[in-house]
Amino acid sequence: MSTTPVSPEELAKRAEVERIKDKSRFLRGTITEGLADPVTGAISESDGILTKFHGTYQQDDRDLRDERRKQKLEPLYSFMIRVRVPGGVCTPAQWLEMDRLATTYANHTIRLTTRQAFQLHGVLKRNLKTTIAEINHALMDTIAACGDVNRNVMCNPNPYQSHLHAEVYEVTKAISDHLTPRTRAYHEIWLDGEKVAGGEAKDNEEPIYGKHYLPRKFKTAVAVPPSNDVDIFANDLGFIAVEEDGKLAGFNVTVGGGLGMTHSEPATYPRLADVIGFTPTDKVLQVAEEIVKIQRDFGDRVNRKHARFKYTIDDRGIAWFKEELNQRLGWKLGKVRPYAFDHSGDRYGWVEGTNKRWHLTLFIQNGRVKDMEGYPLMTGLREIAKIHDGDFRLTANQNLIIGNVSAKKKPAIEKLLKKYGMQDTDQQSALRLNAMACVAFPTCGLAMAESERYLPGLITKLEKVLEEEGLRDEPILIRMTGCPNGCARPYLGEIGFVGKAPGRYNLYLGAGFRGDRLNKLYRENVNEQQILEELTPILRRYAKEREAGERFGDFVIRKKYVKAVKEGKDFHA
């Protein structure tokens, strides 16, 4: 199958977004005209759909919405720009450029995302083109950072610790490049690229995606056991590196992961990926492309809430999928090779790599890099970037690795860490070090409740109990999102919170510490007081009754607080 034309009757049945893509001339729409409209800081709704493919979301300051309405002003619109960083690795020069753009055009912060990307928030429409152009000048880009395409490809961010990691990182970049949309629209709109003659794009402008792209977003990750920091099973497509005799033998392939769902719609659910077979390294790109094309051809284009790859697979069965894939490949995936994960969190502090260089993992609360009262984190990282001779690596847990530091430079960096109060970032409770929250209010249009601005304070309250019970250094994965779409992967938290309304959350318990089991709804629509009342006795009991090495997520299942979730379809059961 290929990108066969869609009849008008068929198109009429599809979701509105499909029609916008259809009319968009490969993602051009009227974005250029919208950017030039001086009467509003916003762009049109349909262009708002299209700019996602270009890596930017229109948002507004929700704290000010009501106030500005009374002032006869439109909402304070701005744009979030997501910068793709394949595998999460960037140079010190690129870091300095992000820092400069954040302080010149954005809200003076850089957000490290849960998928190893940078986010700039608060960029005004009139500065959007300049900012995106300057990101590209720094040899980074934003295309396909959002939208119905393959997004930033994740990879365990410590490739220099072994020969294996370096090879895997190269594969990651290759997948990312191979699945990047080919439309010239990006260059025309943001980089003053030459326009395609005649206005209408060429029919073959997108050899992999076609003019309607994918039915929904598509996420890919590459994991290097024993670390599952990328949460490989939460991705539509995953590759687990397989090491044999100290060499990269190839990858186990995972398909059909995805966390987003909708409250009160049981037909939507988070799902962990299936491991379906093995591919040698030289076939990875072919496998990736064919899997993307299967989703392109079979994904649901009528109901966007049912359009993720996970439903395409569950609706038809994994056996059908394997058959379809093998047929398209013209060869059969090999048998799954043995692999083992033992954690999904980050390990903080200095590590010496096999190449005799040093790597420091810094704890960055919620991935938010900014100057805080008494803790000038952003300034400190800027000063480090100025002298750093290695690289920076964004982790899938929103932390930052100062990577590849020479032994000679290490003392200078340590001096700066001390100067800016960053030497003890990991001297926090293990709960805080293993926490993740999405952005939510005030900028995210989807948020129903606070997340980034709220979780740190909630953790402070829980820490009292942990201190009393001697659990301060016991890692427990705690994750919060302001809506059920899953940006901070809340369904993989041993404790998960998903916002329902301001100050109200669904409380989930019992995910696997290694990212290998979903959690389950424990209490619905609870406020802070109820959260503390519910969690305190469970944590106290965990301190007293846990078995040796027993993780919190396993404990709550053994003690029957919740049932273990075996597969996505059981999530609501």
Binding site: V39, E67, R69, K72, E74, L76, L124
Partner: protein
């Protein structure tokens, strides 16, 4: 008030009518009596179809002719001229009012008896519609006027450096051209009514005597009033309506350096009406801190009694509500210099010391004056006598009655700045921002402005240039055009500092654009990019279309700051006409003057 008692013998009234009238008349205050006289005259004038003149006493057919030449920007001079006409007619003079804007210049040489009423704008400029007349009179082609008799009344604001300069210029020039000054010129400050009234009586008295006119009506009942009559109902400038505040909110978003307020006042049961382009007058209360500091600085007691008009009140109350306590004016300084006997201050105020006067008043207020030139042993009464009355502040109305019945909306920017080491604040703008209590009522009146009006033709296109608070009347224009279903195209130029925070009434303009009422909007946010961009730059960018609109009959309106904005906009307009019309500078000048003559170029600037 005392009236001579009427009966069947000395009046046409029946006995019962006379009794009722005597009873009623005895209860009237002078203001009420004055209003009623105007009201009755007005009703009669309307009944006779004579066009609604307030004092339209039937004109003497044969009396000596008197021309009242008027140059008016906001309508005050027009009002004075109409009043003078009414009184002249009553005195048997065949008086006509002629606007300088409409005047046929070649006729000037034929004028014999002339009253001039002229206001002064900004830095000593004539009103827009009097520019041509002024230039003609002061140019080489001005005729000899040896047969003419004249008197001049100047209107102005003594807080400006070139106070009543137009009156002074006209007065001098008419004499130069050979005319005879029959009565000395009078210069009126913001509270012009009394001075204008006594000038009328004096000047008209001289004309009557010189021309031998005979009065057509008995003067036995109505003696010369000290104020003006009004047809506007009970509430007027002399008797402002206490308006309830319905809304008082800041239009600027967070982070703005501006504080522009949108204020909605209720006119319910006031009988006050207005049209788009009119202004609302507001009597503010001065800032108590400023007043207390001033009382302390002059070494007087807050409770010292002073006389204001007929009333006795403590100094503090008088300074809060009756007197100007901030703005320095030359007359105030002259009185104060005399009071404290300062030679140095008197030196600054000499006619030939203008630069040092300008330098001193720049950024200074009365508090600086009394501290720099302290006096000893003055009384509260003496000090109060140096001050001018607190003038009402005028704001261009931001609403249309058609859209907001019985309401009037204002757009007021709070003026706050520092100068000479002191925090300064605008009296009325900070009255709205800081000193309006919860249930406060604001004393207001309506100031009509016939020189800033939508075109009578509702299909005619209009262009509106209104940056900052200058946008206020254009909100009224659009509301009115929408309510009237006017089909003319509408083009707005707006500007301010920042798009995000200072785009006043943004959502309303967006909706008007969507509905097609607003045809175009061009925006200039000066501080959103490296180089400063203002409305005149947008006009120049769009000059082809601007000229096309003018050629298609568009009216061009400007509202807002005079010194910086209106001059630049005027220059841009001339440039556009010159370049796009392929004209010489003189031809462009003539084109724009013609627009003014046709009332297609109107300004409300301050």
């Amino acid at each position: 008030m005392q009236f001579p008692s009427l009966d069947r013998n000395n009046s046409p009234l029946s006995e019962e009518q006379a009794r009722l009238f005597n009873q009623f008349a005895g209860s009237l205050s002078p203001e009420q009596a004055s209003w009623i006289s105007g009201y009755l005259a007005g009703v009669r004038a309307v009944a006779h179809g004579s066009g609604g003149g307030v004092h339209a006493v039937s004109a003497p057919v044969h009396g000596p002719e008197l021309t009242i030449l008027v140059g008016s920007q906001t309508g005050n001079s027009d009002k004075v001229a109409e009043e003078a006409k009414a009184r002249a007619l009553a005195k048997g003079l065949k008086a006509t009012v002629k606007s300088m804007g409409d005047y046929k210049l070649p006729q000037l040489k034929n004028e014999k008896n002339v009253l001039v009423v002229i206001s002064t704008q900004g830095e000593g400029d004539p009103p827009d519609n009097a520019k041509e007349f002024y230039e003609f009179l002061h140019g080489k082609r001005a005729p000899k006027l040896e047969q003419a008799k004249f008197s001049v009344l100047g209107l102005g604001d003594s807080s400006y450096t070139y106070f009543c300069k137009m009156g002074i210029d006209f007065d001098r020039r008419l004499e130069e051209l050979g005319a005879t000054r029959i009565y000395p010129r009078v210069d009126c400050d913001v509270d012009y009514e009394e001075a204008a009234s006594s000038w009328m009586e004096g000047a008209l008295g001289e004309f009557v005597q010189a021309l031998g006119a005979t009065s057509s009506v008995s003067a036995s009942v109505v003696t010369a009033p000290s104020g003006f009559a009004s047809t506007e109902g009970v509430y007027s400038k002399r008797n402002p309506f206490p308006a309830e505040v319905l809304e008082n909110l800041v239009l600027n978003g967070r982070g703005s350096s501006k504080e522009t307020r949108h204020i909605e006042l209720s006119l319910e049961n006031s009988g006050l009406t207005y049209e788009p382009g009119d202004a609302v007058g507001v009597f503010p209360v001065n800032c108590p801190e400023v007043v207390d500091r001033l009382i302390g600085a002059v070494g007087l007691g807050a409770g010292d009694m002073v006389t204001v008009g007929d009333a006795q009140m403590p100094l503090r109350e008088a300074l809060l509500t009756r007197y100007e306590v901030t703005t320095l004016t030359r007359p105030m300084m002259q009185k104060y210099a005399a009071l404290v006997g300062s030679k140095k201050l008197a030196g600054i105020l000499k006619e030939d010391a203008l630069p040092s006067f300008i330098e001193y008043v720049n950024g200074r207020e009365i508090i600086d004056l009394v501290e720099d030139y302290p006096g000893k042993g003055m009384t509260a009464i003496e000090f109060a006598q140096t001050l001018r009355k607190l003038p009402p502040r005028l704001y261009s109305i931001a609403s249309s009655l058609a859209a907001h019945p019985e309401e009037v909306h204002l757009t007021v920017v709070a003026v706050r700045y520092q100068s000479h080491g002191r925090d300064r604040k605008g009296v009325c703008s900070t009255y709205f921002a800081d000193r309006l209590g919860e249930d406060a009522r604001v004393p207001v009146f309506i100031e009509h402005n016939k020189n800033f009006k939508l075109p009578a033709d509702s299909t005619a296109p209009i262009m509106m240039v209104g940056p900052g608070t200058g946008v206020a009347p254009f909100r009224a224009f659009l509301e009115d055009r929408e309510a009237a279903g006017a089909t003319g195209r509408n083009w707005l130029f707006f500007g301010d500092q920042h798009f995000e925070t200072d785009f006043m009434y943004q959502v309303e303009w967006q909706n008007y654009l969507k509905r097609g009422l607003l045809t175009r909007i061009d925006l200039a946010f000066s501080r959103d990019q490296k180089e400063k961009v203002y409305v005149q730059h947008r006009m120049l960018e769009q000059q082809k279309d601007v000229y096309a609109w003018l050629e298609e009959g568009a009216s061009f309106y400007v509202c807002g700051d005079e010194k910086r904005m209106a001059h630049d906009v005027h220059a841009a307009l001339l440039e556009i006409v010159r370049v796009q019309g392929g004209k010489t500078a003189e031809q462009a000048e003539e084109y724009v003057k013609a627009l003014q003559r046709e009332k297609r170029y109107q300004r409300d600037v301050y």
